[in-house]
């Protein structure tokens, strides 16, 4: 029961944050670009006439080299290393007593 309550808290938190973000994005983007629904009766077409998910436009499907994973791993490594070195540098500066 306790675990169910915790899961509910997480899901409610996620729903609130998600709802807020959805509202913000919908309000800001509706004033910029027209929306269209797949199979809608209004007959509206997207500006480029493409109903596909806008991901991977013009790219061939199939297994490719996992370049994105390597890029993400590189981002994580670089940021982590930067944080580590910054923390070490700040730690050293704190440990050095002020010169008289």
């Amino acid at each position: 029961m306790n675990t169910v309550f915790k899961i509910l808290v997480i899901l409610v938190g996620a729903t609130l944050v998600g709802g807020l973000l959805y509202g913000v994005v919908t309000v800001t983007s509706s004033s910029q670009s027209p929306q269209f629904t797949e199979g809608s009766s209004s007959g509206q077409l997207p500006p480029d006439g493409n109903f596909d998910r806008p991901d991977h436009d013009g790219e061939s499907s199939g297994i490719q080299f996992p370049m994105d994973s390597i890029k993400n791993l590189a981002i994580i490594s670089v940021v982590g290393a930067l944080y580590f070195n910054a923390a070490k540098f700040l730690g050293k500066r704190k440990s050095i007593p002020a010169s008289v």
Binding site: G13, A14, R53, I63, D68, S69, G80
Partner: protein, 170 residues
């Protein structure tokens, strides 16, 4: 190593690997990308459950002096949470597999794709900081899991005979 720490380590490792795999939709294809991302959301809920005690403790004394060093990590984790929700939300909005599987169709909007990519990059940066913050814990867990066996060299004066097994002696 305690059972809970072992569970944490295994969950975190598999979540990290899944994050890297999910981050390469060109490699996996759309279906694997979307379903694995949904499973990853479940794993993150489990990760939060395992660390619930820490969340409650730090939240209750966030602005006290004793929690001064924890504030950065706390807000970083909130950033990760919000960023993760944004990825899931924008991913669902541009979904090709999961949303149609449930017989739903959502309004298409190009800005969701841009947001999906933007928040993926933000999440990777935050994840780098998250891993760096817990690096010592990760290293310690691996040290416990894989103890380095440093074979102690015998002293020069030790007679060779003493190193032989008893049953090997004539």
């Amino acid at each position: 190593m305690s059972k809970q720490n072992m569970t944490r380590l295994l969950l975190d490792l598999s979540t990290f690997v899944a994050l890297l795999v999910v981050g390469a939709p060109h490699f996996t294809g759309d279906a694997v990308h979307e379903w694995l991302a949904l499973a990853l959301s479940g794993a993150i809920v489990f990760h939060l459950l395992l660390n619930w005690k820490w969340i409650v403790e730090v939240t209750s004394r966030l602005f006290t002096k004793s929690a001064k060093n924890l504030r950065f990590g706390y807000f970083l984790n909130w950033g990760l949470f919000v960023s993760g929700i944004m990825i899931v939300l924008s991913g669902l909005m541009i979904s090709k597999t999961v949303v149609p599987f449930f017989g739903l169709s959502l309004p298409q909007n190009m800005s969701w794709k841009q947001l999906h990519e933007l928040f993926t990059n933000i999440t990777m940066i935050l994840m780098g900081l998250h891993v760096a913050l817990h690096w010592n814990w990760i290293v310690n867990m691996f040290k416990r899991l894989l103890p380095v066996r440093t074979a102690s060299k015998p002293a020069a004066s030790t007679p060779v005979a003493t190193l032989q097994r008893k049953d090997a002696r004539s």
